[in-house]
Amino acid sequence: MSATPVLALRGISKRFGAVQALTDVELEIHAGEVVALVGDNGAGKSTLVKTIAGVGPADDGVIEWDGRPVTVDRPHAAQELGIATVYQDLALCDNLDVVGNLFLGREIVRAGVLDEVEMERRSRELLSTLSIRIPSVRIPIASLSGGQRQTVAIARSLLGEPKIVILDEPTAALGVEQTAQVLDLVERLRERGLGVILISHNMADVKAVADRVAVLRLGRNNGTFDVATTSQEEIISAITGATDNAVTRRKARTTAEGTK
């Protein structure tokens, strides 16, 4: 693993009116690493992702790219740096075919005319290097299953040759087999040396593919864990706030009574 992280967030803060959504959040992603970003609802995961993707710039803090501070104030700036974001509600056009969706907004044009042949060839190449199994690249997206759509959406983000891919709940609403397909794809992204930020609520998914888990709680860092050496319970207690749940409260009470 390289010493300098590809992407590093230093002291990111963000306010919405009276709400302090993020406070001094730190996050580092190295090349070839899958970092799971977990946290309860409202913990600030989406807000954090938006600051990285340039959709909602942070009020405070520094984003470093390859060790140099950069400003990411527009989605375009993030894409130019090499940050690709795959949102939860897949941004795909149902009526276009797979090729049309993969190249939407960056069509290959030859003498002013769409080069369908080249786009189709490159689509097949891309899908096959990622071992994505799609019945045909010429059927409308509407024909695909949820998992297949998700893999197409992820493949689409790779066309811009990004270094960091942000996946927002890629396995939500997917079946067992489809989830497996998407997780396989996440591993392949890592093999290709990409840094992946995986937002997920599903601990099994996180344990399966992530290298590190960064926990957000109430807009603050609440620990970063090495997946291999950390138990699921520890992560969950970091998410829920170990010092503040029914079990710990009872434990605290009983020990307090015991010492009396």
Binding site: P75, H76, Y87, D89, L90, A91, L92, C93, D94, N95, L96, G100, N101, L104, G105, R106, E107, V109, G112, V113, L114, E116, V117, E118, E120, R121, R124, E125, L127, S128, S131, I132, R133, I134, P135, S136, V137, R138, I139, P140, A142, S143, L144, S145, G147, Q148, G175, E177, Q178
Partner: protein, 435 residues
């Protein structure tokens, strides 16, 4: 893999067919494709099974309208043998071209999933503008024609601006346009309300000029067929070289023949009467050119993308407002151009220009031809097919001397049938997972 689209226990032979014509180079890429699916057999049999599969999944394409045209033709021919005669059909094509041009613009708007109710008024406004500039102010015809058509572009862009930038629903903006531009047209026409055009001028020639040389119609037919064949062959060769699935030669020949037969029959018909009408040449030219724009340029891809999902399109970096404004500007332009053809037919601009059933006919033509009212699906060719249906009914009724009351009811019923087919096929496609 959990989905199997062409799942059909009745004919297993079109499922696990290995690709036979795939070059070695593509072997790696082909492995990514699920072998259960959509690997077509070669030649005619494969074409047929693909066609049947499409029909079953509700992808009817132009089939209903082609069947409809044949039925209409037969019914009227049985009642009056003049219907399929050269004179009637030639006139039918010429009369259809004005409404057809307007319908081509409507196709673009419908693909966006929107509607333009102002096209009738805009077409009237354009013809009035032309008449005033040319006849009243003595402006050269060509300049007045260009300005009249540009007035349509401007008006369309204005609708687009209110829709895309201000966020007013297109329905309301163009409804305001329907009233407003009609008012402006009446204002422009002034007191006497009718301005007659030069009956040997440029605009009059739009619909009354015929290329009487027999070679013209046959030449155009030959040119189209040969161009189609060459483009298809070249495309197929390129695809084969790149290792992506290509159409077999047999299928290209079949498609070319399917184009050649109607092309030569129509050319022969035209030559039986006065020759190749200029109006038809322009109409076909516009349909082909805009079909190219829609299917082969990144602009067209953007239009379709907006019809599919605005959110996805804007996330892909498409300038949503610009595309929307341009589509409405195009619709306005086509309305103005169509309006010039309609003015040419009566050789005048008058208070009823662009009024009556023109708007409904233009929208109905696009929908009857197979462009979806729900957005995201459509072809410029549907304007041609749809307007032929509408004009055939009108022409046949006129031949039989049936009152326009009945004619409206029948056209209304045909439109309803077209929308029902659209809705049902969309639902079938959804259940078959292809919508």
């Amino acid at each position: 893999m959990t989905t199997d689209l062409s799942k059909d226990p009745k004919d297993p032979q079109d499922a696990p067919q290995e690709p036979q014509d795939t070059p070695q180079a593509a072997a790696a890429a082909v492995t990514a494709v699920d072998p259960r699916l959509l690997v077509r057999q070669e030649g005619f049999a494969g074409y047929w099974s693909e066609f049947r599969r499409k029909l079953r999944s509700g992808d009817l394409g132009s089939l209903p309208v082609v069947v409809g045209l044949i039925v209409i033709g037969l019914v009227f021919q049985l009642r009056d043998s003049a219907f399929l005669g050269a004179e009637n059909l030639s006139n039918l094509f010429v009369t259809a071209s004005g409404t057809g041009l307007i319908a081509v613009g409507i196709v673009f708007v419908l693909i966006l999933g929107e509607i333009d109710l102002s096209v009738g008024s805009v077409s009237g406004l354009a013809s009035a503008t032309f008449a005033v500039l040319n006849v009243n102010h003595g402006m050269p015809e060509w300049l007045a024609l260009v300005l009249a058509i540009l007035s349509g572009t401007l008006v369309g862009a204005l609708h687009g601006f209110f829709f895309a930038r201000i966020g007013v629903p297109a329905f309301v903006v163009t409804l305001a346009g329907l009233l407003g531009w009609n008012g402006l047209m009446l204002q422009v026409l002034g007191a006497n309300g009718t301005i007659n055009l030069d009956d040997s001028g440029l605009v009059a020639g739009l619909t009354n000029h015929y290329f009487s040389d027999v070679a013209a119609a046959y030449g155009l037919a030959t040119l189209s067929v040969v161009a189609f064949l060459l483009v298809s062959l070249r495309d197929s060769k390129r695809r084969e070289a790149a290792g992506v699935p290509s159409r077999p030669v047999s299928e290209i020949v079949l498609r070319t023949a399917a184009l050649a037969v109607p092309a030569y029959v129509v050319a022969w018909l035209f030559n039986e009467y006065k020759g190749l009408p200029l109006a038809v040449v322009i109409f076909l030219g516009v349909v082909v050119a805009l079909d190219f724009v829609l299917r082969r340029t990144s602009y067209g891809r953007k239009v379709f993308a907006l019809g599919g999902s605005v959110e996805a399109a804007s996330r892909a970096g498409i300038n949503v407002s610009a595309v929307r404004i341009s589509v409405f500007a195009l619709s306005g332009t086509m309305a103005a151009l169509g309006g010039m053809f309609l003015a040419s037919q009566i050789n005048a601009a008058n208070q009823s220009s662009g009024a009556g059933s023109l708007l409904m006919n233009a929208i109905a033509a696009a929908v009857i031809g197979g462009t979806s009212l729900f957005g995201g699906r459509g072809k410029t060719w549907s304007a041609l097919l749809g307007v032929l249906v509408i004009q055939s009914i009108a022409s046949g009724m006129a031949l039989l001397g049936i009152a326009s009351a009945v004619q409206y009811m029948i056209t209304g019923a045909v439109l309803l049938a077209a929308v029902v087919i659209d809705s049902v096929s969309r639902r079938t496609q959804k259940t078959a997972g292809r919508a």
